[in-house]
């Protein structure tokens, strides 16, 4: 989700990394790009300003201007700040706390539709796996069928989630009423649920409360009385990762009323830039503990600030990539290749040369992470070094003419290459097909801007995956669970056409 943030940052730092010496105004300029990127990523306006001021101050303090590698240095500064912004305070509670004697009481809260009920199920599954029994309590008496939803979720966890621990469900369906007519009743339901949990010796009780607006005083007061009477050990605020600028307002209000211990960021599987994560952490100080990555009960992950920050800052390596690339390919060479690509005249030799350069530059994965845009586009594809060796072997077995003109490669020539490289005929066929796709794409890409390149790459990846699907070969192997990008991805901006 932070991919686009990453792309935008990359742009800012390419500027820096290209220049010899850097002035203070250069830093402000780069910080401005960071600012725009963060705003586009939905980070709150004020938070962005604070963040950028700090980054500029840090950069000046670190004497980035005097550094030989100002780009790298600046990135380091931004990265450090970002991790700091996202990291939990040292004394904060871990994932899901555990108290003795049981039960541990956990309370969910948040705006309507943020994902509370679903997250209750996910936490229950998370605990079940760790041998902790739990009870899901239906404290939403207002949303139609909220009780039924939680009951089904509880049954699902009990039946389908791994682990042996018990999952109980507590509800008082007769207390359910239309909107606004059962305010306050949830307190009693929760109290009776906890009593039941004690009798049943349940380890953890999870309270699923109704969604509410932070400005609805009656409902917020209800939540406060649940909090007061039940004294939960941990309060989770459930937030939709696609939330915009308003995230700070709601988070602040929930935090002031309930003291939020942790945040669950849901719908992280979307393509949102997810700036809300930074905003919420900034205004509440409450750490993000989990991210929701799907609708199913197992779609929950622990949140790691370093991982996210370094993903945002995948371009931290842009500088070193630029440097490495410069060592491998001279500027004239690069230009020459670019022209060739544009004319659609790429040869197997060029292909091989690139592959060799890429290999000298280090393991594939690292490399992909270094390329701005490209990295995010291809990060889901598993590119195999062994596979590269075979490709190299096959190209080495081609004659000079074949390398320049792949259309020569008839069956008997393919058979020869297969013998020469100990690859199967099928593999040779796949290589040829792949080469054709890549060269076609490369031609298109040579004429595109950065965004176009991204899209083209996505498209290429999609095609490559289709090409190699099930065949167990090829350069781009989709990981299990990888989302295949629609080949139409290149035409996003087109105006909708009426059917």
């Amino acid at each position: 989700m932070f991919e686009r943030l990453q792309d935008a940052f990359s742009g800012a730092f390419r500027k820096l990394s290209g220049k010899g010496t850097i002035s203070e105004s250069n830093i402000r300029e780069a910080a401005d790009e960071v600012r725009t990127a963060l705003l586009e990523a939905d980070v709150n306006y004020d938070v962005v300003n604070r963040f950028c001021e700090q980054v500029i101050a840090d950069a000046l303090g670190a004497e980035v201007t005097k550094s030989l590698k100002p780009g790298q240095e600046f990135i380091g500064v931004v990265q450090k700040r970002l991790v700091e912004f996202l990291s939990p305070p040292d004394d904060s509670k871990p994932g899901v706390i555990h108290v003795a004697p049981p039960p541990t009481i956990i309370m969910m809260c948040g705006l309507q539709g943020s994902g509370k009920t679903t997250s209750c199920g996910k936490l229950a599954a998370y605990l079940k796996k760790r041998g902790r029994s739990c009870m899901l309590v239906a404290a939403d008496l207002q949303r139609p069928a909220a009780v039924d939803q939680l009951q089904i979720v509880a049954q699902q966890v009990q039946k389908e989630a791994p682990g042996g621990a018990r999952v109980e469900f507590y509800a008082e369906p007769d207390k359910v009423a239309a909107y606004g007519e059962a305010v306050g009743v949830a307190v009693g339901v929760c109290q009776r649920a906890v009593k039941q949990a004690m009798r049943d010796k349940v380890d953890t009780v999870i309270l699923d409360t109704a969604g509410r607006l932070h400005v609805n005083d009656d409902l917020m007061k209800e939540l406060q009385s649940v909090h007061k009477m039940l004294t939960p050990h941990q309060v989770f605020l459930v937030v939709d990762a696609m939330t915009g600028q308003d995230a700070v307002n709601s988070a602040k209000e929930f935090h002031e009323r309930l003291h939020v211990d942790g945040v669950i960021l849901t719908k992280f599987d979307s393509d949102t830039r997810g700036g809300a994560a930074i905003s919420i952490k900034e205004v509440t100080g409450a750490p993000i503990r989990f991210i929701g990555t799907g609708e199913k009960i197992d779609a929950i992950e622990e949140f790691h600030p370093e991982r996210i920050a370094s993903r945002i800052l995948g371009m931290g390596d842009v500088v070193s990539l630029v440097e490495k690339a410069q060592q491998e390919v001279s500027e004239e060479e690069a230009e020459e290749l670019q022209e060739k690509l544009a004319r659609g005249e790429m040869t197997m030799d060029d292909f091989l040369k690139q592959l060799r350069a890429i290999r000298r530059m280090g393991p594939m994965k690292q490399l992909l992470g270094m390329l701005p845009g490209v990295g995010s586009a291809l990060k889901d594809a598993d590119i195999d070094d062994k596979q590269l060796n075979r490709v190299e072997g096959m190209i080495n077995s081609m004659t000079e003419r074949e390398r320049k003109d792949v259309s020569l490669l008839n069956n008997s020539r393919r058979r020869r290459i297969s013998k020469g490289s100990a690859a199967s005929i099928n593999e040779v066929g796949r290589l040829v097909k792949q080469f054709e796709t890549v060269s076609k794409m490369a031609q298109q890409m040579a004429g595109l801007g950065a965004m176009g390149k991204m899209k083209a790459l996505r498209q290429m990846q999609g095609q490559a995956q289709q090409m190699t699907a099930g065949a167990g070969g090829g350069m781009f192997k989709p990981k299990v669970g990888t989302k295949t990008v629609s080949p139409k991805a290149g035409y996003k901006k087109r105006k909708p056409k009426k059917r």
Partner: protein, 314 residues
């Protein structure tokens, strides 16, 4: 429509609370001040804080700056009118009118409204609101419960159908939603209802198989009832940020969205993303949601919306 003339006061009331959280409204900031670069920056900030987005905001602000430099816009007080004019032009009246089925060869066909959107945006509640609105205007309504996936989704719509006293066609949990859509169309024709409203499961616009499933639902409806669906409503959460744009683009690609329902506008979020959506996809807002009951729906009124966005203190 006269029914919705109280919209200004209602949205403003909803947004009044905002002012407790944010310091001062745009109007009070602008009042009595001469326009200058600082003030323009301030306006820019307000628009971004309303989720209008960097790109669209810059566009709007640039036009203010141009007029300011040309000397045609000098007073802070005039800025809101200037913005209103610009934004209002984005939403011509024709855009917002609802499409209803026309009789085929003298025979009545039901109007079909297909409702879609990402998870938890407010679809099912909006279906109830639309049903309520239609019923109040004297039309008979049938609901199609095509969310066969999410736990309790069918039950949720069933409860609404009970409370609103409208019929519902439902399928098996875990069943094929397109099949339910087909059955619902069949029933709508057989029973001669005026309006069929179809609720669908929440799905992220990035999930290709699920988006294809949505296209299939649309196609099934189109095949069963010529000219349907007459309206395809994308329910957008007013609190959502710039991702709303991606949602609008992708849902339009899958099912040719005809209008937005901007739900949850009763919070402090100002729903400015709808402006960015209009900018890039031309999809108009048709309805707004202002609460959790079936009465909490209004026809979208750009003037009121913009007025509320910059609403004055008190």
């Amino acid at each position: 429509m006269a029914v919705f003339k109280n919209v200004v006061s209602r949205i403003s009331k909803g947004l009044r609370r905002t002012r407790e959280a944010l310091t001062g409204s745009l109007r009070s900031v602008l009042a009595g001040r001469a326009l200058d670069e600082d003030l323009i920056k301030e306006i820019e900030a307000r628009l971004i804080q309303a989720d209008v987005g960097v790109k669209t905001t810059r566009k709007l602000v640039d036009s203010i700056r141009t007029d300011w430099k040309a000397g045609t816009l000098t007073r802070g007080d005039d800025v809101i009118d200037h913005l209103k004019l610009q934004l209002k032009a984005m939403w011509p009246d024709a855009d917002r009118s609802l499409q209803f089925a026309t009789p085929e060869n003298g025979e009545k066909t039901p109007t079909v409204i297909l409702v879609a959107g990402i998870n938890g945006s407010g679809k099912t509640t909006s279906v109830a609101k639309l049903a309520n609105l239609m019923r109040k205007s004297g039309r008979t309504v049938l609901l199609g419960a095509c969310d066969t996936f999410r736990a309790g989704a069918v039950k949720q719509l069933e409860i609404w159908s009970d409370r609103l006293d409208v019929d519902i066609v439902r399928g098996q949990e875990g069943g094929d939603p397109a099949a339910v859509a087909f059955d619902a169309c069949d029933a709508a024709v057989a029973r001669g209802v005026d309006v069929l409203i179809i609720d669908t499961a929440g799905r992220l616009h990035t999930q290709d198989p699920l988006m294809r499933q949505l296209t299939k639902i649309r196609d099934v409806v189109a095949r069963r009832i010529p000219g349907a669906p007459h309206e395809v409503i994308l329910v957008l959460d007013a609190t959502s940020g710039q991702n709303a744009l991606r949602q609008a683009e992708e849902f339009t690609r899958a099912i040719d969205v005809t209008g937005l329902m901007l739900a949850k506008l009763d919070g402090t979020a100002r729903g400015g993303a709808a402006i960015a959506v209009r900018e890039s996809t031309e999809i108009p807002v048709k309805f707004i949601g202002l609460g959790e009951t079936p009465d909490d729906i209004e026809l979208f009124d750009p003037e009121a919306f913009i007025e509320a966005m910059f609403a004055d203190e008190g």
